[in-house]
Amino acid sequence: MSNDHILVVDQLMMRFGGIIAVGGLSFTAKHGEITALIGPNGAGKTTVFNCITGFYRPSGGELRLTHPGGATFQLEKLNDFRICKIAKVARTFQNIRLFPGMTALENLMVAQHNALMRASGMTFLGLFGVPSWRAAEQRAIDRAKFWLDRVGLIARADDAAGNLPYGDQRRLEIARAMCTEPALLCLDEPAAGLNARESAGLNELLLSIRAEHGTSVLLIEHDMSVVMEISDHVIVLDHGTKIADGTPRAVRDDPKVIAAYLGVEDDEVAAVERELGQ
C-alpha cells in the first residue's frame, strides 16, 4: 500500500459470540479525502467504527493508520484512549455523546485534555498557576473559541451542552472532535436528525475541514444528499462485507448496492432498473 492512504483496513473481522458482524473487510481511505461508509441498517458500519476507534478489539485483521508525516500505527493493538491520544483519531457518536452538564466551551476544553495536562505539569504547576500554564490555558480557550465560531455556536459558548438544540449538539460534537487535532475524523451519522438547511450547513463545514485543515474524514451516513455531495470515495457494506467501492457516482449505479438497499435478489434488480427506466 502506498503512503497516500491514511487508513488501510485489511481483512478486518469482528465476531460477537457466534455472530459475525464484520467478516474480512478490506478498504482504504486516502489522505485529505472524505471517505463515506454506507450500507443498510445492521450492515456493520458502526462496528467498523468501533474497531477503528478502539471501542472494540477486532477478532482479526489489521487496521493501519499513517499520519501525513509518515508515522504509522497499528490501531488494532492500541486500546481506547490511546487511539485518540497517540494515533490522533477522533470520533463522534451516532446518538450524540456530549457532556450535557458542562458548557459548550468546557466540552471543547475537555477535548484538549492531553495537551493541557502536559502544559499544567501534570496538575502540579497548574495548581499554583504558573505563567506557562496560564498561557497554555488561554491558547486552549482561543482554539475552543475558533471552533465554536466555525460551527456557529460562539454565542452559546456558556450554555450547557445538554440545553442546545439537536442540530447544534451535532455540530458541537464535531467541533469537540476537531479540538483533539485529529489526523482522521470519524463521524457516525452526522446528518441524522438534521433538517435540509442544517444538513447543507454540515456539508459546508465538512468540506471546509477537509480543505483548510487537511483532516481526512471517515463518515457513516444514511443521508444520500450528504454522501453524494461531499464524499470523494464511497464504500458500501452489507452483512459485514464490502459489496462496492468507488466514486459516489459509480456506487450509486451499482446494481448490488441497489439490491442491498432495496433488499431484493440480484435478478430482481434488473427488473427494478427497467421499471425505473435506467
Binding site: T46, N50, F55, F93
Partner: protein, 305 residues
Amino acid sequence: MDYLAQQLINGLVLGSIYGLIAIGYTMVYGIVGMINFAHGDIFMIGGFIALITFLVLVSFGLTMVPVILLVVLLVSMAVTALYGWTVERIAYRPLRQSFRLAPMLSAIGMSFVLMNFAQISQGARVKPVPPIVTGGYTLHEGADGFVVQISNVQILVVITTVLLLALFTWMVSRTRLGRDMRACEQDQTMAALLGVDVDRTISMTFVIGAALASVAGMMYLLYYGLVDFFMGFLAGIKAFTAAVLGGIGSLPGAMLGGLLIGLIETLWSAYFSVEYKDVAAFSILIIVLIFMPTGLLGRPEVEKV
C-alpha cells in the same frame, strides 16, 4: 474429612439465611435499580416480630411446636411485609423518578429509623430465646470420635428455604404478578403503557422481599437463639454482598451468592480465624468482582457506543 462435612452443613444453613435476605436486595435492585439499605433492618424487624409472637403464643399456653412455628411464620411474614410496604411508600416512592443517590440516602436514613425504632421499642439488650426446635441426627461417627451432626433446626432452615425458593420461582415465572415484575424490570414506562400497574408491582416486590427477609429473621432466631436491634446491619451487608457476588438482579445468583458467603464464612472460621471471617467474605467479593465485574451469574453489561 468429617470436620469438613460438618462445616459444610453449617455453612449451608448460614448461607440459606443469607440467600433469603439477598433475594430481597436483588429483587428490589432488579426492578427499581436501588440498594435498599433498610432491608437488613427489615430482616431484624422480622426476627423481633417472630420473637414477640412466639413469646405471646407460649404465654397463652400453646405447646405444639409445629403449630407455634406455623403461626409465628405467618404472623411474622405478614407484619414484616407491611413494614416493607410502608418503607417503600414513605421513603422510596416519592423519589422513584429521581436521581440515583437520593433514594439510596433515603434508604440509609430509613435504616437508621428502623434500627433506632427497634432499640427504643424493645430495648438495647440482646434477647435470648430458649431452643424451640431441638434434637437432631448423627450422620457419621468418625474413628477419632468426631461426630457429624445435623440438627433439626438446620434441617428446618434448609427445607424452609428450599420450599420458599420453589414457591418464589414459580411465582416469578408463572403468575401474573411475576410477569408484571419481569416487565417492570425491563422497562417501566413500556410496562405502564401496556397496562401493568407499576406502583402496585413495585409495592409487591418490597412486600415479597420483606416477607422472605422475615422468614430469614425467624430462621436466624431459631438457629442462633437471639435477636438484637443491631443484627440487621451486618447481616444486611453480608446479604447484599451475597447478592452482588451472585450478580445483582439475578435470583438464582442471590441464592448462590448467599450459599457462597455462608460457606466462606464458616470454612474460614473453622480453618483460619474467626476474627477475620468477614474480612475473608469481603475480600472474596472484591476478588470475584475484579475478574467478573457483574458477579457470578449477572448479565455482562454490554456497553452501547
